[in-house]
């Protein structure tokens, strides 16, 4: 389970509040969409969840471990896909995957099995032997995604994972998310593609100016809004100020 309590982060000595008093719980088997306009605090929240940023206050715990007190236990349990597909360009795809598998302690047998499955699913089985510097934007995204899944994490946290993926890979990712969710894993991702969130997520949270302004299933959000409408309209209504 992901449990975020009273999480806050500000910049410029408190002048800019990036995230303020965020409370959130995501349960196993759930696909959670994290929405918000540009600069709302999505990436800052995700960075605090994975240990890339230190919160000013509050806590994040994943699988019962606190990111501040037991960072390694949390990191073992998560797979993280950042918003920018920046990766070691001078390694081959396979060298990168081997490196990730080594760091997560994935055995040779398991990594072979998962690599074969994931590389095929994302059509990277032939490109994996090339240097990453020769990859397109989408291919880099896919190799990072595969690297984050090799250890079969309990929680998969993705920042804008669909940006840059071709329709086939995007479909494969959504299928994979469904499968993982059926296995009881948590999928937590931020997106601007509201259609995907609408069709795909069990619950969504909308963050604006650092504050969580809406949280629930699509039905619950429709009930909170003035009139029943699409997630896009709800989003626009809630974030217009």
């Amino acid at each position: 389970m992901i449990s975020i309590k009273e999480l806050s982060k500000s910049y410029n000595r408190g002048e800019i509040k990036a995230v303020e008093n965020l409370n959130l719980e995501v349960k196993p088997g759930e696909i959670f969409g994290f929405l918000g306009p540009n600069g709302a605090g999505k990436t800052t929240t995700i960075k605090m969840m994975v240990g890339l940023l230190k919160p000013d206050q509050g806590s994040v715990s994943i699988g019962g471990f606190d990111i501040k007190n037991d960072p390694l236990e949390v990191k073992k349990r998560i797979g993280f896909v950042p918003d920018q597909p920046e990766v070691y360009e001078k390694l081959t795809g396979l060298e990168y995957l081997d490196f990730m598998a080594d760091t997560y302690g994935v055995s040779r047998e398991k990594r072979l099995e998962r690599m074969e499955e994931l590389l095929e699913k994302f059509q990277m089985e032939n490109a994996v032997f090339d240097l990453i510097q020769s990859y397109s934007h989408g291919m880099r995204q896919k190799i990072i995604l595969i690297g984050s899944l090799l250890h079969d994490p309990e929680v998969i946290i993705m920042d804008e994972p669909l940006t840059g993926l071709d329709p086939k890979s995007s479909h494969a990712l959504k299928e994979m998310m469904r499968e993982k969710c059926q296995e009881g894993k948590i999928m937590f991702f931020s997106t601007h593609v509201l259609e995907v969130a609408e069709k795909f997520c069990h619950r969504v949270g909308i963050i604006n100016k650092g504050e969580l302004i809406a949280l629930g299933t699509l039905g619950e959000l429709q009930n909170q809004a003035k009139r029943k409408s699409s997630l896009e309209n709800i989003f626009l209504e809630l974030t217009k100020s």
């Binding site: 410029n12 994975v50 240990g51 890339l52 940023l53 230190k54 960072p71 390694l72 236990e73 990191k75 073992k76 993280f80 950042p82 920018q84 920046e86 990766v87 070691y88 001078k90 390694l91 396979l94 060298e95 081997d98 490196f99 990730m100 598998a101 080594d102 760091t103 997560y104 302690g105 994935v106 055995s107 040779r108 990594r111 072979l112 690599m115 074969e116 590389l119 089985e125 032939n126 490109a127 994996v128 032997f129 090339d130 240097l131 510097q133 020769s134 990859y135 397109s136 291919m139």
Partner: protein
Amino acid sequence: MRWGCFWNLVKLNVKITFGLSAWLYYFRKKDRRFWGGLGIFAVILISIAPLFYLYLRLVQETTQSLAGTGMEGVVITSGVILASILVLVLGIAYVISAFYFANDLDFMVSLPFRPAEILGGKYVGVLVSEYLTIAPFFIPPVIIYGLNVSGGFFYWVFAMVIFLFLPVIPLVFASLGVMILMSLTNLGRRKDFLRFLGMILILVIVLGANFYLTRLPEGQEMEFIMGIMEDPDGLIAFTGRVYPPSIWITRALAGQTLGLRFVNLLLFSGISILGFAVLMIGADRLFFQGLIGGQEVSAGKIVKPGLLEKKMKARHPIVSIAIREIKILIRVPIYLFNSVFILVIAPIALFFPLLMGTGGVNVDEYIGVVEHELLILGGIGFFGLMALFGPALSSSISREGKLFRISQVIPVHPNKQILGKMLSGFLISLLVIPLIFLAAILYIPWSLGEIILISFLGILLAFPLMGFSLFLDLIRPYFTWQNPQQAIKQNTNVLFSMVGGFLFLGALGWGAFKLLEIGFNPGWIYFLLGLFTLIMGTVIIVILFRVAPDRYQKISL
């Protein structure tokens, strides 16, 4: 060339190179990082002050010893040559990095600029940073000559003009060489390797030419030196053979008449401007040839079944991190050049003239008079020196740049990551062993047992030096570099680790020498040296282990 565009790009590049916009922003926001920047600058000045003082004394004594001979100007010629060769040699890697590996190039190429405008802007960015390189070598002889021999209004004005033009010609040579190299090697898959070879070739040509031009005619050394000494202009002409503009500069500052000085100033500045014009013409034709196209694109060709299993390798995380470090170091030509190849080129550059007998020194005779124990200690110290010359660890965290986030996210304890980095440095330091063998075969009478002793103690000596370098980079990593060269050359941690390391090596060397002098058993000296470096290395590792977890958590990209 549209001068408005060019000027805009120059301003942009200077701001980026020196981080001026960020610095002013910190100033306006009263951010303490503004004072941090100033503090670092002050520490750099203090760090290089002792070396600078030694250089000043050397120049002062040379000027005084040549007083009245009419040859005093040779101190200017030597300063100019030293500064120019440094600009040329260091400029090769700097120019490749700024012209071809900068982060903003894809964006720049898409804008409506001519190749010469983009390259010209970047050239001036590099040029401005070269002023910092030449200042310590050029300014002291100019000031000492001006104060001792001839001052006057025109002397100081000419000196300022010359200072501004001084790095232009060597940097034009470096830029033209690099542009030709890059356009010839823009060949896809193997281009990085070819480019690395090309950089070595340029460097070998520069050093070879230097050696060829400064050697004395065999068998007539004395007559030749006498000939030089009899002609007041002879020493300047001989010294300046390496780089003729140094003669024009010397005459512009130390010529006998104002007219002669003015003509030489015009000649030097005119050739510099002409060189820049040639570079701009060359840039329009060559720059994009080396930059665009030739990119490697994933072939995605069908591979044989079973290849994945065959090529896959499972390793311990520490080993995996060490191998990642080494692979990236070897595959980025600039890193390979600065961190690994320097281990080969630095000793050659340091000892080449000595080994080749330039200046009438016979290396065998020289080695014959040095105590054998000192030769062994020298071999051990050589390992330490090489650990300082190769910035593999002093830029290890900085080189990760934005990808440091991967190190922060993986579930490998920061201390294990530190061990991985230390292991990579250790593996690189093993490269010095073949050099020791080579020296033993060619010149120095070390036995096999002594070579093993030197290698063992040398690696032990490199251990605290590498740990200290890594510590500095961990405390204050430099992540905002725009090109790989900046990650090393604009990284003050590299400089500080060298200064600190030299002090450590100097103190150890002095201690060992004193112990030898008072008749201490050499075996005990080696033992104490090994024990001391082992303790120091362990202390540094313990400090690193204390600091790393907090730094890995707190560093925010």
